[in-house]
């Protein structure tokens, strides 16, 4: 673990050079989303009977929170991982020291988790300001968002280390992440999806994250379903790490 922390230190040190820009966007993004979706779109949706049982902004906010975890984690673990292997060759610099492949992998993953945690904290504060947190359990949406991030950053890092060229990463974002963002219950309940498609949505890690975060902020979480969600996300993160260590090793240790 000591080795992983030393690798982590590298990424945090580099990040200090560009944190200002990213902090601005992590404050600005949720505020823009909540204003547009909650106040704008919500005005239309909230008309008539309340099918969701809560205001639209309260419904959509935890969804966007979980989806933000996915997006930050995916962005950070796609091109930057490929860069560290091929362009900047940062991983090779690390490997010339006592650090092991596993330290290099875990150190980078810890950094992704930190990025998600910082953004999620700001986001949750914004949600509180918008009055969309209906329960004290909402605080647990923070670790849940970090877990969503790990469920993406680990498999995406595995994919990015394996990918033969950078076009594969663009394809993953376009055909994997964007559809998931739109159809995994972030903006509307997946029960609205036609049968067949709905099952696909249930299988995505994002849906499990969205559903759990939503029940936590609305105070409707149950132990059973919450544990299922957590287990599903942990499984994604764990399998991702195992595969990522293999694909890292294949690239780094010839």
């Amino acid at each position: 673990m000591d080795g992983a922390l030393r690798a982590y230190e590298h990424w945090v040190t580099s990040y200090r050079r560009l944190w200002r820009a990213s902090i601005v966007s992590s404050v600005l993004n949720p505020v823009l989303y909540l204003t547009a979706l909650g106040v704008g779109l919500g005005k239309l949706v909230n008309h008539g009977p309340h099918p969701l049982g809560v205001s639209y902004v309260a419904f959509v906010a935890p969804g966007v929170l979980a989806a933000t975890g996915m997006q930050i984690a995916t962005n950070e673990s796609s091109f930057p991982v490929m860069a560290a292997l091929r362009w900047t060759r940062t991983y090779y610099a690390m490997l010339a020291s006592p650090l092991r492949v596993r330290d290099i992998l875990i150190g980078h993953q810890l950094y992704f988790a930190s990025r998600v945690a910082v953004a999620a904290t700001i986001y949750l504060a914004a949600l509180a300001a918008f009055g969309t947190l209906h329960s004290g359990y909402a605080i647990f949406a923070l670790p849940v968002t970090v877990l969503v991030g790990a469920a993406f950053s680990a498999p995406v890092a595995a994919f990015s280390a394996w990918a033969p060229k950078d076009a594969y990463l663009s394809a993953l974002l376009r055909f994997g992440i964007v559809p998931m963002f739109l159809f995994s219950g972030t903006f509307f309940p997946v029960t609205r999806l036609p049968p067949g498609v709905r099952e696909i949505a249930y299988a995505t890690p994002l849906w499990h994250g969205v559903d759990l975060a939503r029940h936590l902020t609305l105070g409707t979480a149950t132990w059973g379903m919450s544990l299922v969600h957590v287990a599903y996300l942990v499984a994604f993160a764990g399998a991702g790490l195992v595969i990522a260590e293999r694909s890292y090793r294949k690239r780094l240790v010839l």
């Binding site: 000591d2 590298h10 060759r89 610099a93 490997l95 020291s97 006592p98 010839l254």
Partner: protein
Amino acid sequence: MSTNDALIHARGLTKRFGGLTAVDGIDFDVSKGEAFGFLGPNGAGKSSTMRMIGCVSPVGGGTLRVLGLDPAADGPAIRGRLGVVPQLDNLDNELTVRENVIIYGRYFGLARRDLRQRADELLEFVQLSERANDPVEPLSGGMKRRLTIARSLVNDPDVLLLDEPTTGLDPQARHVVWDRLFRLKQQGVTLVLTTHYMDEAEQLCDRLVVMDHGKIAEEGSPAGLIQRLSTREVVELRFPGDAPVVESSAFNGRVARVEVLPDRVLLYTDDGDALAPIAHELLGAQSVLVRRSTLEDVFLRLTGRTLVD
């Protein structure tokens, strides 16, 4: 030399990639304080050998001991005592020059407090003190290579591994790098380097092996190899088109050996000045040059090819 006092000890060292045998059963020993070189053309197996010594590539066959330890069992411990200057720069471009040294030192578990002072000393040594707080990106190729060398010394390594240390640098920058490496050698740092530049090998190496097709063709000191495998001098004749085919017998015993290259004929002799006018008259070359034998000639003799195409 016994196994015990060799810092690096290899017997039958082999590396295969699929069907390709990159390193084909080589033997060598590197002792403390020595500057040891692998000389050979691209693809000779030098970098593969370096990666195995650097414990980032598993040994494919044979025995390798680095600092008395087995890379397969003690890779991280060995790497902690090595310094590595890779062929391709992997500096942190978004960090400053000083931060590059400090963060690299952190990989070795060194304390930040000690590293600040260490970084200043090392940047002084590689003549980059004035750039300490500048970002890396705008530095010249020679400065980046010197920074990479400073970084590789952060853990006060027992052995410094340099893979093609001056490839891609202009002549002036190369000389600055050589000067620094020579200074390290004087301080008793053990250097192991690969190069396909014979002048680099002659300048820096106490002892070297000539590699070709994954095998070691010869071993010795630069001067010893030249003395053993070449003549004292070379008469080099240039031709505008194809060089004529000549036999050494045409020169009445004055020429020990002839090499015919596409545009040149090399005549190996002990007395170049005496031979040059005779050869010029006989062959009618465009230009004639008398020079001392170099490792390039040794390589040509061993492999029938030139080092740099």
